[in-house]
């Protein structure tokens, strides 16, 4: 999987919100890449910066108060942070598309499903006729497993169930064959039997269309089930990255370890759950030292004063923790991975 080319590269991204309380660095110098055709997960607890990361990539950070203050987002070697609003509008949908947690808020209640799908197509395919757009819309509804697509075109969002609306959103995101699909908590608002259907659909589409998927979730089960690689975020930073197999079997960062031990597993009963002490920090509340130090059972002096780097601990594994600094592999290996 690491032989696959990086199609989207996030490098040193910083996104802040400027509020009455000063600058809040919601995303604080993060790096990761999405490889061609893969399903990459981003996992973390609420407020760790997952949604701000995806909005930054899409050029949709609400501004003001938000602003990308540093770093670059390379899509096929073009820096998205440097594009004009107009250029960015062409990238959205065409190259990179996104679906959100609550499909109802991203569908317009006043227009029919068909109307909205066709509009999404015609923005990017200006030379297409209405007929062509309509056919494509119906084709997409069929693709995402919605029955009676013809009738559905005339329906309005409120007439659909949550699961159907999320399918429509996926169809809309995929109308122009984007290379990357960003899905921010796409199943969090859905029931578990419907979630299973949607995750299955996303996996199928990833395989059939070779669309790379960036799946954002707080659910480790969803990651294990759906993703090939995973990025773990904590307090606005990436704390660990690697193949799902490795991260679940040999997690390195104390936060990842704690998180994995905290989840109840439906297959067997643990006598007592492990729990990470303390609270999930508000972004910006910790500015010096390792962001996890206050909750970490391994913390030592240095952790309180210096912020560890993201150390490359194997050709595919990275960890932001001083305990793994001496396991860092040589720069040589690193270039092999990133090329």
């Amino acid at each position: 999987m690491s032989e696959r080319k990086a199609i989207l590269q996030v490098k040193g991204l910083r996104t802040s919100f400027f509020t009455d309380d000063g600058e809040i660095p919601a995303v604080d110098n993060i790096d990761f890449s999405v490889h061609e055709g893969e399903v990459l997960g981003i996992v973390g607890e609420s407020g760790c910066g997952k949604s701000v990361t995806s909005l930054s990539i899409m050029g949709l950070v609400p501004s003001p108060p938000g602003k990308i203050t540093g770093g670059e987002i390379l899509f096929e070697n073009q820096d998205l942070t440097k594009l004009s609003d107009k250029e960015m509008r062409m990238v959205r949908g065409n190259d990179v598309a996104m679906i959100f947690q609550e499909p109802m808020t991203s569908l317009n209640p006043l227009f029919s499903i068909g109307n909205q799908l066709m509009e999404a197509i015609l923005i990017h395919r200006k030379d297409w006729s209405k007929k062509q757009a309509k056919n494509r819309a119906i084709e997409m509804l069929n693709l995402v497993g919605l029955p009676r697509a013809d009738e559905l075109m005339k329906d309005y969002p409120h007439q659909l169930s949550g699961g159907m609306r999320q399918r429509v959103m996926i169809a809309m995101a995929l109308v122009c064959d984007p290379r990357v699909l960003i899905a921010d908590e796409p199943t969090t608002a859905l029931d578990v039997t419907i979630q299973a259907q949607i995750l299955q659909l996303m996996k199928d589409l990833n395989e059939r269309l070779n669309t790379a998927v960036l799946l954002i979730t707080h659910d480790l089960g969803v990651v294990a089930e759906t993703c090939e690689r995973v990025v773990v975020m904590y307090a606005g930073q990436v704390v660990e990255e690697g193949p799902v197999q490795t991260i679940f079997k040999d997690p390195q960062h104390p936060y990842t370890k704690g998180l994995l031990q905290s989840v109840p597993d439906m297959r067997f009963k643990k006598q007592r759950l492990y729990s990470i002490p303390g609270n999930v920090p508000k972004p910006g509340s910790i500015r010096t030292g390792c962001r996890f130090a206050a909750r970490c059972e391994f913390a030592f002096d240095k952790c309180l004063t210096e912020n560890p780097d993201l150390y490359q601990t194997s050709s595919v594994h990275k960890t932001r923790c001083f305990l793994y600094k001496n396991q860092e592999v040589s720069a040589n290996d690193r270039t092999l991975v990133e090329s």
Binding site: V192, T193, G221, E225, F248, I276
Partner: protein, 330 residues
């Protein structure tokens, strides 16, 4: 066998649907439709099911925060469903609720002390001094500090607010706690803190829990027995181990197989059930699961399956089991 602490028989809640200028009743949402179960002293009964299946409505009827349309609730030998409102208020001392969103249920303008004291004042328990003492005691018990008493709800994180919600429920020394999605809004690392707290409190204070949730992992972890609801009905109920290791009802089987497991090597036989949950205002005839059931038989579309003991201690409402199954198989 000792008497269960709580017994529920034939509980129903039909919400009228009103239409038109005259608000004539045009139908009913059958939110809870003939549910029976019991809870033993000191145990945790988990209730699971997907959104809208009637879990919260059931919980609220047990305390008569919502009047049942029909059915009987017997708590500690006393029938709650036919006592006066005054007597019910007294009974509520012994049954308390913990909610999903602790923020919405804590008055933002009151200090934690005032919030925690309130149930004691309502029930006329203790004097000012002993009430304050109890507040400080309980704050410590739920893992907060007595100096938190003077603070306001917004000064706490979600997990801390849930601890306050639990402390408030414990103020009157209840026997039964009905917890409706108490950890659903919390992050994983905070969720496990609260679950551990609830387990410790149960042991120390001999509490009985009804734990309502949609997360099947959480429910297995905390429950001794588990009931599964679908469209207002209890479709299966048994000991937790039995339910998870050998689910009998096709819906339970599908539900369990849909839960993502935090293990990338886990291979499961996923039963993907098609379609959505039908509306409780117009539930399917016969077995309400028949529109999605992979094992549907003719009888399922016409005859409502009763909750019957298919195996010792294992109750299920499905024509594949029990007397009717014996008849069909013959």
């Amino acid at each position: 066998m000792t008497e269960p602490l709580l017994k529920v028989e034939g509980l129903k809640k039909y919400f009228p649907i009103r239409k038109g200028v005259l608000s004539r009743v045009s139908g009913y949402v059958k939110a809870v439709d003939d549910v029976s179960f019991f809870v033993n002293k000191g145990e945790t009964l988990g209730i699971v099911g997907e959104s809208g299946c009637g879990k919260s409505t059931t919980g609220r009827m047990l305390m008569r925060l919502l009047e049942p349309t029909e059915g009987k609730v017997v708590f500690d030998g006393k029938e709650l469903t036919n006592i006066s409102n005054d007597d019910m208020r007294k009974a509520r001392r012994e049954i308390q609720m913990v909610f999903q969103d602790p923020y919405a249920s804590l008055n933002p303008r009151h200090t934690i002390e005032k919030i925690l004291e309130e149930p004691l004042i309502v029930h006329g328990l203790g004097d000012a001094k002993s009430r304050k003492k109890k507040v400080r005691e309980l704050l410590e018990i739920v893992g907060l500090s007595s100096y938190h008493a003077k603070r306001y709800p917004h000064q706490f994180s979600g997990g801390q607010r849930q601890r306050i919600g639990i402390a408030r429920a414990l103020m009157t020394n209840p026997k039964l706690i009905i917890a409706d999605e108490p950890v659903s809004a919390l992050d994983v690392s905070i969720q496990s803190q609260v679950l551990n707290l609830m387990q410790d409190l149960q042991k120390d204070l001999q509490l009985t829990y009804i734990f309502i949730a949609h997360d099947l992992g959480v429910v297995r972890h905390i429950s001794d027995r588990v009931g599964v609801m679908y469209l207002g009905k209890m479709v299966e109920i048994t000991e937790s181990e039995l339910l998870y290791d050998k689910p009998l009802h096709p819906y339970t089987q599908a539900l369990l197989s849909a839960v993502p497991v935090p293990d990338p090597n886990f291979v499961r036989d996923q039963i993907l059930i098609k379609g959505d949950i039908p509306s409780p205002s117009n539930p399917p005839s016969g077995c309400t699961f028949h529109t999605r059931c992979p094992f549907k038989m003719d009888v399922c579309t016409t005859v409502v399956p009763k909750l019957e003991e298919a195996e010792p201690g294992h109750f299920v409402a499905c024509h594949l089991y029990g007397e009717r199954a014996a008849l069909i198989n013959r």
